[in-house]
């Protein structure tokens, strides 16, 4: 075997810089079109005069069950949230299953049941699907792909061009809970009861904000790659800088402790129930009030602002007053967390 030829590495799936290079160098040139090139969580489309959003995602999480959820719950919430991040209300979902020979039917039933519950909670219907079974060892138990379609909320225009210096950056709650819950299960750590995955459908929360404040410039859920990578993507797309204040970043002390133990940075950890809003300062009070009324976003707060410099990059003002770059995730911090 030629060991010098470039191959797919786990880091290519981390959501960080390597994933971006893969998409930019291999996927985009092949499939280029205006909807794809926005590189949003989903494509925004015009179908016969109706503004739709369309998205797909595959779930390969290991372990399949973790504190606060399982792969099925993730598969529904993830796709519902991707639509919400385009400014759309999710309507219909598809579900494709790749099952490993030998998977327990009881496990599959639990997973499917939580998909049903999440669909009900989010107000979406799973209307089509597919099931394949592959030989033992070909997949790790179960992989799920979901695709979703939804209708864009009127008057809402989420996208990088609206992001401007002077705007506030708001995050809806504590960072890193999901990744720490999954990791602890994977490594057999016993966690304080407080840390369960934050996996949840965010469509109603987002709709409440967007209905009251359609001026929101940008929305993104900081999943793979975490808050730091998500903000870097936005800064690069919008050609703006961002400065975050370290002492405002919401991280639970328990999450911080686990991170220190395992050598991870919570700002790069995956979340499955959090959302970042970028909005003009004059509206941020209103956005915060609406967010804090919802239990999913009770800890919402402003964590920094959009600036002109450093253009295309994100900086962090530390608790001792220093300023440093907050880079994109490079390589894999957590292979296949979601």
């Amino acid at each position: 075997m030629n060991n010098r030829e470039k191959r797919i590495l786990l880091g290519h799936g981390s959501g960080g810089r390597l994933s971006h290079e893969l998409i930019r160098n291999i996927m985009l040139p092949a499939f280029a079109n205006p909807a794809l090139s926005e590189l949003h969580d989903g494509a925004r489309l015009d179908v016969g005069g109706t503004r739709l959003a369309f998205t797909t995602d595959s779930y390969v999480v290991k372990p399949r069950f973790f504190p606060g959820g399982n792969i099925g719950k993730l598969a529904v919430c993830g796709t519902v949230n991707d639509l919400a991040m385009c400014g759309a209300q999710a309507a219909y979902l598809s579900a494709g299953f790749i099952l490993e020979e030998g998977l327990l039917l009881s496990e599959l039933t639990l997973i499917v049941e939580s998909m049903r519950q999440m669909a009900v909670a989010a107000g979406v219907t799973i209307v089509t699907g597919d099931t394949k079974v592959v030989e033992k060892g070909a997949v790790d138990g179960i992989y799920i792909n979901t695709a979703g379609i939804g209708v864009l909320l009127p008057g809402v225009n989420i996208g990088a061009p609206g992001v401007k210096p002077g705007q506030d950056i708001i995050v809806s709650g504590y960072l890193g809970d999901h990744a720490v819950a999954v990791m602890s299960e994977r490594h057999g750590l016993t966690l304080p009861a407080a840390i369960a995955s934050d996996c949840a459908p965010l469509n109603q929360l987002v709709a409440a904000v967007l209905t009251a404040v359609p001026q929101v410039a940008m929305l993104r859920d900081p999943t793979r790659g975490g808050l730091a990578t998500t903000l870097n993507e936005i800064a690069a797309e919008a050609g703006v800088g961002m400065i975050l204040e370290e002492n405002t970043l919401p991280v639970r002390p328990e999450v911080q402790a686990v991170c220190e133990l395992l050598g991870f940075d919570p700002l790069y950890l995956a979340n499955e129930g959090k959302v970042v809003f970028i909005v003009e300062k004059e509206y941020s009070g209103k956005v915060l009030t609406i967010l804090r009324q919802n239990p999913l976003a009770a800890a919402a707060r402003v964590i920094g602002s959009v600036t002109a410099q450093p253009a295309g990059q994100v900086a962090l003002r530390t608790t001792v007053g220093g300023l440093r770059l907050l880079d994109m995730l490079s390589g894999e911090q957590l292979p296949r967390i979601c």
Partner: protein
Amino acid sequence: MLLTAEETARAARFFTDGITCLATRPVRLMEVCGTHTVAIFRAGIRQLLPAAVELVSGPGCPVCVTPNEYLDTAIAYSRRPGTIITTFGDMLRVPGSESSLMAEKACGADIRIVYSALDSLAIARDNPGQAVIFLAVGFETTAPTAAATILQADKQGLTNFFVLSAHKLVPPALKAILATPATKVDGFLLPGHTAAISGLEPYRFVAGQFGVPAVVTGFEALDILQGIYMLLQQLQQGQAELQNQYRRVVKTEGNPAARDILDQVYQPAGTGWRGFGEIAGSGLELTAAFRRFDAQAALPLTVAGSREPAGCRCGEVLRGLITPPACPCFGRHCTPEQPVGACMVSVEGACAAWYKYGQGRWSCE
């Protein structure tokens, strides 16, 4: 001690103001330890210091100072049939002369990341037909857990567990630096966690023999600011002492229990450092009673033709002779995604810290 954000900011201002007052002439301070390097960059400390105070990184990143011969040997073992390599994650991406462990893993070698040396024992028990080789890399801080693992393996009667030892001791490398006049270090921030094991005694020669002030320092931003402040106070008063800023963790006598375990299993030996070559008495080899756990003794294998990556100046970075942006590769064809040398690969590497936290790549002001 938990401080509020307000208190932290106030304490930080106290030290930075003090440092600014005391910095009446240019001084060059070396943070020996990679954990310090990262903490300094993470907290943005370099920008809080007046221009007269220059910080330079030293040889305290265990992954960085591990020479290519070691990596080439580990890679050769990973290709050996019936072998499982266990390692801490940061060794995976370090390029050897021809390949890296990560490239070997992608091509099918059985290489497993562990979070503790002890995890390797379970792997050895579950795979009785395979040789499990733990890549034992690290300083005084990690060596005792590797030693404890070997004692466990001995107790459990495991015959398929081995270590490939690259353990290193910090004081001999410091001596090598002090003996290099070109480095010109006016003061040292010494690693708190290695001193927590070894105690203060092994570091006394820095001030005693070489007349250079040194402060054993903790890893919070405030610890580091205080450590720098203490060094500047000594320099201002023309003193040269070994001081302990990190008294809440580091005792004068260190941790005798950990040292006992270490002494049972390991004895000092010469070993090679990237950038320095062989340094006498700076490594740890297994004592005769435990030599059967030494991979190179039990499963001999020779590797020839190791060489450093072309153009890489890690050797000079590690000796404090240059800062990373002085390397022509830095940020051009050497980045964390496409690293050329170990200092850009390791999470504690000086090049990685300079790059990741933006110095030499953007201007914060």
